[in-house]
């Protein structure tokens, strides 16, 4: 295939063809992490779609229009954005590209064994790079089902390269509108029983011997939007012992119902219950540690537990980003310059406070 690459055909070197998010997912699949199956519609597809034989020069044309706009003028920015997106969305997709997308989706359905609901996300070339975080700049469409819908939303993702925010962002950062390109990730939706985030250090104090998992019932949206106080589990990174668990009453969850994501009250009997089992906590922590080792950097990871599968096949990693707050802090000594005998003397002189 020319325009579609499955995750296992991509690595982190492929930002140029799969965008940041796509390259990242490919890298994680390659490293053996449990990523929901899917594929990337490469940058080549987008480039050929806008710059190919029939539609020659459309990308350049758009770039010309928007590079003249004053991004501080909101009204003008929105007008230009709408125009650019209209150009993209009205451009017919070359047949060979569309057929590859459809074929890949059909294959994904075959793998999963049903007409699968997917997430269609844009993956820009400069996204998810630690020093220029494009995260969230482009669009994500969830719970998309059926070939036609997939194709339609791929087109929407492509046009999302020209949302007012994206245009303004590139202008302030000095990126060239013509140079930036976009890939699209199509990935099986996780039918989340629980979901959340995981940090491979303790975000409260920067302790790198710990992994902290935040978790709530249902889709991740409820945590991200701050609607629910998640359960919090602290795991020892070395021994995988669960050092601390705080179970919060979880009143709201996001679930997928009748074709859309709805916010609902959590059933009474689930509210006070931990949203992860011990084995899931430990398994997640093990994956977290491996991801950190793989990237040689503390990481910030999104994950979900799929209710359609049994443990451990139900654990999925959705996203992994380098942690930026603590990892950039200067490391100060805790004990300081003390010999073993200094320490012994100190201990011998101190009354043994009754611990805790």
């Amino acid at each position: 295939m020319k325009y579609v690459k499955w995750f296992d055909e991509i690595s982190k070197e492929d930002v140029g063809i799969a965008g940041g998010k796509g390259a990242n997912l490919g890298e994680m699949v390659k490293a053996g992490f449990p990523i929901p199956p899917g594929f990337v519609i490469t940058i080549n597809a987008f480039e050929e779609f806008l710059e190919g034989a029939k539609e020659r020069g459309k990308k350049a044309q758009i770039a010309r229009i928007i590079s003249e706009v004053d991004v501080k003028n909101t009204e003008e920015l929105e007008k230009v954005s709408a125009l650019a997106r209209e150009i993209v969305e009205s451009t017919p997709i070359p047949e060979k590209i569309e057929e590859e997308i459809r074929e890949a989706y059909r294959k994904l359905c075959e793998i999963v064994g049903e007409e699968v609901a997917v997430a269609v996300r844009s993956s820009a070339t400069a996204e998810d790079v630690p020093d220029a975080s494009f995260a969230g700049q482009q669009e994500t469409y969830l719970w998309i089902k059926g070939e036609d819908e997939v194709v339609k939303h791929v087109l929407k993702c492509w046009s999302s390269l020209y949302t007012p925010r994206a245009i303004a962002y590139r202008a302030t950062k000095g990126f060239d509108h013509y140079e930036v390109s976009i890939a699209v990730v199509v990935q099986k939706m996780v039918n989340s029983r629980s979901s959340g985030v995981m940090f491979t250090l303790n975000p409260t104090n920067g302790d790198e011997s710990q992994i902290v998992i935040e978790s709530a019932w249902g889709l991740g949206e409820a945590i991200v939007s701050g609607e629910v106080t998640p359960d919090r589990f602290v795991v020892d990174k070395v021994t995988k012992e669960i050092l601390d668990r705080t179970i919060s009453p979880k009143l709201v969850w996001c679930v997928y119902k009748d074709g859309k994501v709805v916010h609902e009250e959590v059933p009474e009997d689930l509210r006070e219950k931990p949203s992860l089992s011990d084995e899931e906590i430990v398994y997640l922590a093990e994956i977290g540690k491996k991801i950190e080792e793989h990237y040689s950097h503390p990481m910030d990871i999104e994950w979900a537990i799929d209710k359609d599968f049994d443990f451990p096949k139900n654990v999925f990693i959705l996203q992994a980003r380098p942690e930026t707050v603590w990892s950039q802090k200067k490391k100060e000594p805790v004990i300081g310059k003390k010999s073993g005998f200094d320490l012994l003397m100190e201990r011998a002189l101190t009354p043994f406070k009754i611990p805790k």
Binding site: S209, Q210, V334, G340
Partner: protein, 620 residues
């Protein structure tokens, strides 16, 4: 019962049931709470020492405690001079054994001790390996044990043998020999216990120092992980079990008949007789005899009580383990601990944490504190076998030789009745006996007096078993300055509040108890409450063991259970160490588990949190 503001009664206000009347005379007078020391005694915090004395104290068995009160304390206060630490004092109340870490000394004394400590303790830490201090200790200690084994308990002859009189009269005779034999034994016991603490206080201090460093670097780290970093794998304590494993393998390699005999339901004596009659059997017996001393000188209990028995005089215990080991081998299961694996796992654990340390300075501090504890910690792990198991077994055997003599001369009814008398009283019995012997034919000793006393004391001890004494007395301290109190008895404020619970709550109303998170993991299952090792065959596969505490002779049961809960013991207690090795959860030092939990209760053991929950009570 009078309950103070802090929840515990004053020592003199505890009412001992009247069935125990006369209990005081079984023990030395300085062991009894008294009016003249009242003010000092009420200011201290006394707690029941269930590690060493879960049951009413037999008068003779107190001897080891008398010895350790002196020895442990003097190392803190007069020898290595741990600055703010004083000794651990003991009392007996209604036959139950209480201890207390004495309040700290004056500031001035602390300062003086600090200087001495620095010089003396540092020397030990610096030279422990290079001067082979452990090896020297073990050699000397084993010599002492051999010395006790060789003490001859003489019979009283009708006439002294010729060679003691002609050509040159010896000058002293069997009456003296008997008195001397007893004195030698008592002296050796006190010496052994002075040896016992030679490096123990310092090795505990090294552990606490390292634990402090680790907790500062990794504030949330669990205690059991610290224990795992320090614990040795090739400790003497595991040898008895390893010897059994070897004997099981030997049996299998020798083939059908040996295996068949060892797997049969016959008594150990019958098995040994049958093995004697064919070459392979004899070969196995030779290996068995070789392993016996010292490795089967392991108590079936804690080692502290004569009635617990030891493998060498309770052969049913090692033989039943042999049987199950052979069966496990036949099923293709492994019975040995993979020491290399355990070593590697520990090194990996330490290395991973070490890598997480962010600065070179901290890493250096960690390395130094770790080296100090690793160098000396074998002492903490190994002394236990040599003193409490091997040496105590020798002592109890020797005492029984005196007991047999007393029975032979009608001074006592039963051999073990000797343990109903304290160490100061036994010389009186000996003196009574040798006086009668010396006086000549038909002179009666006062045998009935001793027998009556023995009978009375049996009744008192029986009554004491039915009494539940308060878990603690006196005033709860804010801080403890004595390393053993934290390390061994695991005294923490949480523990103390559990004890207060024990005073104010009825056991059947308690649904959750706390202890040390000694080995991680969470499991739920059926509880099996075992108070003594001879009940151990009641434990079924997959049950949760609930017991006062464990020791090396319990080791084989850990392959059967899925968690362990103990009344007593911290993170370095036997149960904690073994559970971590077998990867099963353990909560230790709960104080009250065996009182609160009943066999058949469904309990949940959370070895991460140190909490035991009674999920469902067994049907009555």
């Amino acid at each position: 019962m009078v309950v103070l503001g802090n929840g515990f009664p004053k020592p003199l206000e505890v009412e001992v049931p009247k069935e125990l009347e006369g209990w005081e005379e079984m023990y030395p007078p300085h062991y009894i709470f008294s009016e003249e020391r009242k003010e000092w005694e009420e200011r201290q915090f006394w707690y029941l020492d269930k590690i060493h004395a879960p049951d009413p104290m037999y008068p003779f068995d107190l001897i080891f405690h008398e010895a350790w009160q002196i020895a442990l304390s003097q190392y803190n206060t007069r020898v290595f001079c741990i600055p703010p630490a004083q000794g651990v004092a003991q009392r007996i109340l209604g036959c139950y054994f209480y201890i207390c870490a004495v309040e700290p000394p004056s500031e001035e004394t602390i300062k003086k001790k600090a200087e001495l400590f620095q010089k003396r303790a540092f020397w030990v830490f610096q030279n422990y390996k290079s001067e082979k201090l452990y090896e020297k200790w073990e050699k000397k200690f084993r010599e002492l044990g051999e010395y006790v084994k060789n003490i001859e308990v003489p019979d009283l002859p009708t006439f002294e043998p010729e060679e003691r009189v002609i050509p040159e009269p010896r000058g002293y005779y069997s009456s003296y020999d008997l008195m001397e034999a007893y004195d030698k034994l008592i002296d050796a016991i006190f010496k052994a216990w002075q040896y016992h603490f030679q490096y123990l206080n310092l090795s505990y201090l090294a552990y606490l120092t390292f634990a402090d460093v680790v907790r500062k670097l990794f504030p949330g780290i669990s205690e059991s992980t610290i224990g795992k970093m320090v614990a040795g794998a090739d400790v003497v304590m595991f040898r008895p079990q390893e010897e059994l494993a070897k004997l099981a393998r030997l049996a299998i390699s020798l083939g059908g008949r040996v295996v068949e005999i060892l797997k049969s339901d016959k008594s150990p004596e019958e098995k040994i007789e049958e093995l004697k009659i064919f070459p392979e059997g004899r070969e196995w017996l030779r290996a068995f005899d070789e392993a016996k001393d010292p490795w089967f000188y392991v108590s079936c209990g804690s080692g502290w009580f004569h009635y617990e028995g030891s493998w060498i005089n309770t052969l049913e215990v090692p033989f039943s383990y042999l049987k199950s080991y052979i069966e496990m081998l036949e099923k293709g299961e492994t019975i040995e601990r993979d020491i290399d694996e355990i070593h590697k796992a520990r090194e990996k654990l330490v290395e991973e944490y070490r890598k997480l340390i962010k600065t070179d300075e901290d890493r250096k501090a960690f390395d130094e504190a770790y080296k100090i504890v690793r160098d000396i910690y074998d002492y903490a792990e190994n002394h236990l076998f040599w003193v409490e198991h091997w040496f105590h077994t020798i002592v109890f055997e020797k005492m029984r030789e005196f007991g047999k003599l007393f029975v032979r001369y009608g001074m006592l009814n039963e051999v073990d009745d000797i343990f109903l008398f304290n160490r100061f009283e036994i010389p009186m019995i000996i003196e009574d006996l040798v006086t009668a012997w010396a006086l000549g034919e038909n002179v009666p000793p006062r045998a009935e007096y001793w027998k009556r006393k023995a009978q009375k004391r049996k009744k008192i001890l029986e009554a004491a078993r039915n009494w539940t004494p308060p878990p603690a007395l006196g005033t709860v301290p804010e801080e403890v300055t004595e390393p053993f109190t934290v390390m061994l008895w695991g005294i923490t404020s949480e523990k103390v509040s559990e004890w207060i619970k024990g005073v104010t709550y009825r056991p059947e109303e308690v649904t959750e108890i706390k202890g040390f998170a000694s080995s991680s993991g969470v499991v739920e299952g059926k509880a099996r409450v075992i108070r003594f090792l001879d009940e151990i065959d009641q434990v079924q596969e997959g049950e949760i063991l609930v017991c006062p505490n464990t020791n090396p002779s319990w080791a084989p049961v850990f392959t059967k259970i899925k968690a362990a809960v103990t009344d007593i013991g911290g993170l370095t207690s036997h149960a904690a160490i073994v559970c971590r090795e077998y990867g099963i959860p353990a909560v230790t030092g709960t104080g009250i588990a065996t009182q609160v939990i009943k066999t058949g209760d469904i309990i949940r053991v959370d070895g991460d949190k140190g909490v035991v929950t009674i999920v469902k009570r067994a049907e009555e």
